[in-house]
C-alpha cells in the first residue's frame, strides 16, 4: 500500500513521516524545507506500507519546483491513500488545498495537525462536522508529540482497504456552467487521460491559467488553447476579474464557508511568543537582537570546540612518538600507521568538537522559527544585491552544508535568483570550512581573527552578489513569505537532526579522511608529493605559502576539511604555527574558504543549475579565491 503525505508548507508532514519512518527527513520551522520527496518502507502496526513525504504545496496550480514535484508525483504515481495534513491553526487556508485534492478523486484521509496550536489561538474545530461535510475521515494529531499518529495510520490503512472518495464541491452556477462546457470539449479530446486527471480538474486548472497544462496542450493543439482563452474571457466578462482570480476566489469562499460552519471561536490564550516579534521583527531592535543571537551562536561553538579540541589532539598525538619508537620510521608500515592516526585524530579532535555544537546551534535556530525572521530583516539588504529576503535561507543553511543549501535555493521563484544564490551559497563557509576557520585561525590567531574572516566573507559574498546581479540584470519577483509561529524545539528532534547530519560526516567524510591521510603518507613514502606540489607551485608561490601545502589543496576539493587535516601531515608538524607565519595561515584559510566547491557540491550544482553554470561557478570562485588570498598575503 502506498500512502502519500500531502499538505501546505510547514504543516508537519515531515514530522509525521519521521515519527513512523525514523528520523530521515530534515524538519524545521520554516516553510519549504522539503524540496524533494522522501520515500520509506514502513512496518507500522503489522502492516507494511510505503510512505511518501511530498514537498509542501499551497495549491495544486504549479509554480515553484518543489510544488511541481508534488503535483507530478500525485498525478503520475499510483497512490492508494492520500493523507492530507492540515495545520489546524490555519484551517481556512489549508482547506483551499483540500478542495483541490478532493477533486483528484483519490481515497483521502484528513489529518488536522497541531490541534493544540489551534486551540491556543482560540480555534475550536468540530471534527465530526468537518468529516461529514467533506465525506472523508478526519483525524486530529499533535505530530511532534506523537499524538494521534497511530489513529491516523489505522484510518489510512482502513481507507486503503475500503477506499472512499470525498465530496467534490461545486462553485457558483455561472462558473460551473463554463467549467462544464470546457469539460465537454476535454472529454472529446481525451486530454484528461493523457495527464491522468479528471476532466473537471483539468478544466478548472486550464481556466486558472495553469502554465504547465497550458504549455503541454499548446504543443499538440494550439486551436484548443484558443478555445480555453475564449472560456477564460467568458468568466472575465461575468465577474469583471481575471479568470484565475475568479476560480481562486470561488475556492476561497468555499473554504471560508466550510471553515465557518465547523469552527467556533474562543478567546485566544495569551502567550509570550505572540509578543516576541515586537522585538525580533522591530525595525531597530530586530537588528540588535539579530547581532546578539549571532554573537552568542558564534561563542557557543567556539567555546565548546576549544574546550574539547586541545585535550583530544594531545591525546592522539602522544601515539606518534610511540609509533616511531616501535616501528622503523622509514618503513612503509610506519607511514601507513601514522597516516591512519593523523586521519583519526583529524576527524575526532579537529572536526567533531566544532561540528557538533555548530549543528546543534543551527538546528535550534531552525526549529524555533527564527530563520524566516532573519529573512524579513535581511530583505532590504538582499534587494541591494539583486535578490530578495528568502535567499537568506539557503545562505544560512550554507553554514551547515553546501549541498542541502544549494537544493534549498528551490524555494526561490526565478531561475536567475536560484543561480545567483547557488553561487553565493558555495562561498559561504560550510561546517567543514568552519572547522578550518576555528581549528586554524581561531586556534592559532585568536577568535577576533576568526570573526574577521567571517565579516570579510560576508562582504565578499555581498559584492559577488552585486556583481552577478549586474551581469544578469532582471527584476527579482519580490518576497512573499509566510512567517510561522515560534515553537520550542524538542531536544529529541534536535539531537536526531544533529545525528542525521553527523552520520553523513562519519560514514562518508571520515573514511575519506583516513584514506586520504594514508594516501598522502604513501605519496610521501614514494616521494611523489613533490611532483604534485611542483604542479601546484604557481599557486603556492603566488600566495607565499610553503610548497608542501600544494597537495592539501587537491584534497580540499574532495572534502574541505581534508585540506586542513592534510596540512598537519604535509608539513610534518603538530603545531602549525612553528612552520607557518600568521600571514600564511590567514592566506591559506582565505584561499581554502573560497576556491572551487567540493565534489559533492559540484555534483548537486550540476543537477540544480546545469553543467555550464557549474563550470562558471568553479571559475568564478577560483578567481575570487586567488585575488583575495593574494591580497591577504600583501595586507595581513
Amino acid at each position: 500500500m502506498r500512502i502519500a503525505l500531502v499538505g501546505q508548507p510547514n504543516c508537519g508532514k515531515s514530522t509525521i513521516f519521521n515519527y513512523v519512518a525514523g528520523y530521515k527527513a530534515i524538519t524545521s520551522n520554516f516553510p519549504g524545507k522539503t524540496v524533494t520527496y522522501s520515500l520509506s518502507k514502513v512496518n507500522f502496526q503489522g502492516i507494511t506500507s510505503e510512505i511518501v513525504d511530498l514537498p509542501g504545496t499551497y495549491s495544486l496550480t504549479s509554480f515553484d519546483l518543489a510544488e511541481l514535484e508534488t503535483r507530478r508525483y500525485l498525478l503520475r504515481e499510483k497512490i492508494d491513500v492520500v493523507i492530507n495534513v492540515i495545520d489546524a491553526s490555519l484551517l481556512s487556508r489549508g482547506l483551499e488545498l483540500t478542495l483541490q485534492i478532493l477533486e483528484l478523486n483519490l481515497p483521502t484521509v484528513i489529518c488536522l495537525n497541531m490541534i493544540d496550536e489551534a486551540e491556543a489561538k482560540g480555534i475550536i474545530i468540530d471534527v465530526d462536522r468537518l468529516s461529514q461535510l467533506l465525506k472523508v475521515p478526519v483525524v486530529t494529531a499533535v505530530a511532534h508529540k506523537g499524538r494521534g499518529i497511530n489513529q491516523l495510520f489505522e484510518t489510512a490503512f482502513q481507507m486503503g482497504q475500503n477506499p472512499i472518495r470525498g465530496k467534490i464541491f461545486t462553485f457558483s452556477k455561472d462558473v460551473e456552467l463554463v467549467i462544464e462546457e470546457l469539460r465537454k470539449h476535454l472529454e472529446e479530446k481525451k486530454y484528461a487521460q493523457k495527464f491522468q486527471v479528471t476532466e473537471r480538474f483539468l478544466a478548472t486548472k486550464l481556466l486558472e491559467n495553469d502554465q504547465h497544462f497550458i504549455d503541454e496542450i499548446k504543443k499538440i493543439d494550439t486551436k484548443f488553447i484558443k478555445k480555453v482563452k475564449d472560456y477564460q474571457q467568458q468568466l472575465e466578462e461575468y465577474r469583471a476579474r481575471t479568470s484565475d482570480v475568479v476560480i481562486s476566489s470561488e475556492r476561497h469562499h468555499l473554504a471560508m464557508d466550510i471553515y465557518e460552519s465547523v469552527v467556533t471561536l474562543a478567546k485566544p490564550r495569551v502567550e509570550i511568543r505572540n509578543y516576541l516579534d515586537n522585538i525580533f521583527m522591530h525595525p531597530v531592535l530586530g537588528y540588535i537582537s539579530l547581532a546578539i543571537v549571532l554573537y552568542l551562536f558564534f561563542h557557543f561553538v567556539f567555546y565548546i570546540g576549544e574546550l574539547v579540541e586541545e585535550p583530544l589532539l594531545a591525546f592522539f598525538y602522544q601515539f606518534l612518538p610511540y609509533l616511531e619508537e616501535k616501528l622503523n620510521n622509514n618503513s612503509l608500515i610506519f607511514y601507513i600507521a601514522s597516516g591512519m592516526v593523523q586521519g583519526l585524530a583529524g576527524g575526532i579532535a579537529i572536526v567533531l568538537p566544532y561540528l557538533v555544537p555548530f549543528l546543534l546551534g543551527l538546528a535550534f535556530l531552525e526549529d524555533t522559527g527564527y530563520l524566516p525572521r532573519i529573512a524579513f530583516l535581511m530583505d532590504t539588504f538582499l534587494h541591494r544585491i539583486g535578490l530578495h529576503g528568502k535567499a537568506i535561507i539557503p545562505l544560512i543553511l550554507g553554514y551547515g552544508c553546501t549541498v542541502p543549501a544549494v537544493m534549498a535555493t528551490r524555494i526561490l521563484e526565478s531561475e536567475r535568483d536560484r543561480f545567483i544564490s547557488s553561487i553565493l551559497t558555495t562561498m559561504i563557509p560550510c561546517a567543514a570550512r568552519i572547522t578550518i576557520i576555528f581549528g586554524l585561525v581561531a586556534f592559532y590567531l585568536g577568535p577576533e581573527a576568526a570573526l574577521l574572516v567571517y565579516v570579510l566573507n560576508i562582504i565578499v559574498v555581498a559584492f559577488s552578489g552585486k556583481i552577478l546581479s549586474r551581469l544578469l540584470p532582471e527584476v527579482t519577483p519580490g518576497m512573499i513569505m509566510e512567517i510561522p509561529a515560534y515553537h520550542i524545539p524538542s531536544l529529541k528532534v534536535l539531537l536526531a537532526k544533529v545525528w542525521l547530519r553527523m552520520k553523513e560526516f562519519i560514514m562518508v567524510a571520515w573514511p575519506l579522511l583516513i584514506a586520504g591521510s594514508i594516501f598522502l603518507s604513501l605519496l610521501k613514502y614514494w616521494h611523489l608529493e613533490t611532483f604534485i606540489n611542483k604542479l601546484i607551485s604557481p599557486i603556492t608561490l603566488l600566495l607565499g605559502l610553503p610548497i608542501a601545502v600544494g597537495v592539501t589543496l587537491i584534497f580540499g576539493i574532495l572534502r574541505k576539511e581534508l585540506s586542513m587535516i592534510m596540512l598537519v601531515q604535509a608539513l610534518e608538524v603538530t603545531d602549525i604555527s612553528t612552520v607557518m607565519s600568521a600571514t600564511q595561515i590567514m592566506t591559506f584559510t582565505i584561499f581554502v574558504l573560497f576556491y572551487v566547491p567540493c565534489v559533492a557540491t559540484i555534483a548537486v550544482l550540476i543537477k540544480e543549475i546545469g553543467a555550464k553554470k557549474t563550470v562558471f561557478t568553479i571559475l568564478f570562485t577560483f578567481f575570487i579565491a586567488i585575488c583575495l588570498a593574494t591580497a591577504t598575503r600583501l595586507v595581513y
Binding site: 487556508r93 483551499e96 482570480v245 476566489s249 525595525p283 524566516p372 532590504t380 519577483p477 519580490g478 509566510e482
Partner: protein, 77 residues
C-alpha cells in the same frame, strides 16, 4: 481611503481592494490567503524600504516592498 499597502502605517487595519501585477504574483498571494475583499492588519514595516509584515487569517506574511506596492487596500481605521 484607498492606498497601496507599502504606504500604509503599521497598526492599520485594511481591506484588499485590488491586486495589480501579473498572474504569478496574484496566484502566490492567493495561496497565502490574500484575495480581494480580505481583511488584514499591517504589523510592521522594515527600515530602508524593507518588507511589510501583515497578519491575515490568523497568520503572518512578509511581503517585499515591490509586492506590497502592487496591493491596493482600503484603510478601515
Amino acid at each position: 481611503m484607498v492606498a497601496n499597502l507599502a504606504d500604509v502605517t503599521p497598526g492599520s487595519k485594511v481591506r484588499v481592494v485590488e491586486i495589480r501585477g501579473g498572474l504569478g504574483i496574484r496566484q502566490r498571494l492567493s495561496c497565502l490567503g490574500i484575495h480581494p475583499g480580505d481583511l488584514m492588519i499591517v504589523q510592521a514595516s522594515g527600515i530602508m524600504r524593507g518588507p511589510v509584515l501583515v497578519s491575515i487569517h490568523d497568520n503572518k506574511v512578509a511581503l517585499g516592498r515591490g509586492v506590497a506596492s502592487k496591493i491596493l487596500v482600503e484603510v478601515i481605521n
